[in-house]
Structures are given as C-alpha cells and as structure tokens.
Amino acid sequence: MNTANQYLKAIYLIQQQDNEPAATGRVADMLDVSPASANEMIGKLEDRGLAEHEKYKGVSLTDDGIVRARDALQTYCIIERFLANVLGVEEFRAEARELEPVIDGTVAERLDTIIDRKPECPDCFDPELDACRCLDVAFESEPESEQPAD
C-alpha cells in the first residue's frame, strides 16, 4: 500500500542529491529492489501523474509527486523521531525502515503530537545520514548503513 510512497521518497531524495533526474538504477539500489521492479513501479507512478520518465535520463517527480514525496518523507521523519526520542530505540533508522510501510500518514500525524519536530522538517532530512540533521542522537550506533566521511 505504501510502496509507491517509498519510491516517491527515494526519487525525491536522489533528485535532491544529484540535482537532476534520478537514474532508475539508483532508485533500485536505494530501495534494494531489482531494476525491473523499479521500472515497473516508475511506470505506475507515471500513469498516476506523479512522475515522468525520460529514456537515458531518468525519472523526475511532477508537482503532485513532489507533494506526495514530501509527505512520505515527513511521515518517515516522524517515525524516526518517535522511535529515537519517545521510545529510546538505538537503532531507530533500521526500525523506521521496517515500520515505514505499515505506518500510515494519519497514524504518523497522531504520533507527531507527542514529539518535538522542527518547523523546517522534512527539509532537514539528510539522505547520507538517513535521518534528520536536527535529531539529537548519536549516529554511531547504526550498523547497517555507511557513515558519511567528515
């Protein structure tokens, strides 16, 4: 159900990082799926008017796609912050990735009422850290993703 949102979020973050259309291979890598699966879902996003795919260039989000992607990113930020700050989960990023497909935006909105989130969210999200830059936690505990070089 939320798979489309995860694709939109991934495309959005890659576009932000690269400042150009997102290569399908990069999207597949980020989501850990096959390029064929990524192509199929990108086709569906195009059909829904959320993305545009140009051969040899990559995929870009439409205005509607950007709105949906930012909502999905915000939901993800809420889950991360809730896990880290309310429940004290050390591996909040790994758990947020697991929980993301099950936690709907409306549920996240309720969780949002008991966390302190910055007004600039989700622009404060750092794709390298896979977390909000404003989150006051130690990032050394993440075992699964690479740490950015200082």
Partner: protein, 165 residues
Amino acid sequence: MSLGQQVGSDRQLARLLQIGIVLEEVVEARAHRHYQSLAADERDLDAEIEELLSHAADESADHRKRLEDLIEGLTVDSVPFDEIETLVEARYGKTKPEDFDGVLYDQLCNEETAYKFYDDLIEAIEASDAEFSVDREHVVEVLEGLKDEERDGVERVTTIMEERE
C-alpha cells in the same frame, strides 16, 4: 530501506503493538483532558459528550491492556509503559479544545486513526509468513476485536455529530 508491508519478527510485532499502546494512550489522554476542560455547567448540560469521552477513555485503557498482554507473550525486552504514559500525559496537560465541535472532531480523528492502524497491522501480519512466539491467529483475533470497537467508536461519534447539525 526495505519494501513490502510485512511484520517479520517478534521485535517488529512488539514495536507495532507498542505504537498501538501509544495511540490508545493519546486517545485516553485527549478524552480525559477534553472532558476536564469543559466548564462545570457545560458538563451538566451535555451528558451525551460526557458519556462519549468517558467511554472512549475506558475503552482505550482496556485496549492498552489487551495490547500489553500480547506483548508479554513475545520474546522481547520489556517496554517502559509507565514512561510513555507520563510523557503523553505531560503533552496533553497543555492542550484544550476550542468547543464541543472541536472535541467531537478530535475524537473522530482518534477513532479513525486507531481503526486505520489496526487495519494496516492486521494486513501486514497476514502478509507475513514469519513465526511469532504467540499464536498468529490469536494476535489477529485480538486486533480484529480492537478494530471493530474503533469502527463502533467512529459510528458513535458520527451519529452524535449528525444529530447536532
């Protein structure tokens, strides 16, 4: 990042049940605070809303107990329920609804959100072939019961809202 809407382990299931407890905590705290914030004379005048909020708070407490019982059967570290309760209470000590319509609308959102959460959780458990320390059918049965009660809650609030239009 992982794709797919499944619950694959005791730990993940426990975390989702814990989130359910927080949502119920939020419902209870908001219902309680909203009730407390109504002026004494208003409370007397509106027994219907008083009964609605009182029922919502009792039901949420009961739902939390059922979720806690499920977590107890899972192989996970204990989770600090008391701390969560304190935190949610502290948050809602500051909130105040603007009027009766605000109270009803907020209560409707609470019930709808909880319904959606249980619905998604059941779907995710059913999509998974993972084995849990507790019987999967029992977990789904309990969650279906909670979902049904949330749906009844939505209908209850909607009926009152329609009567007042």
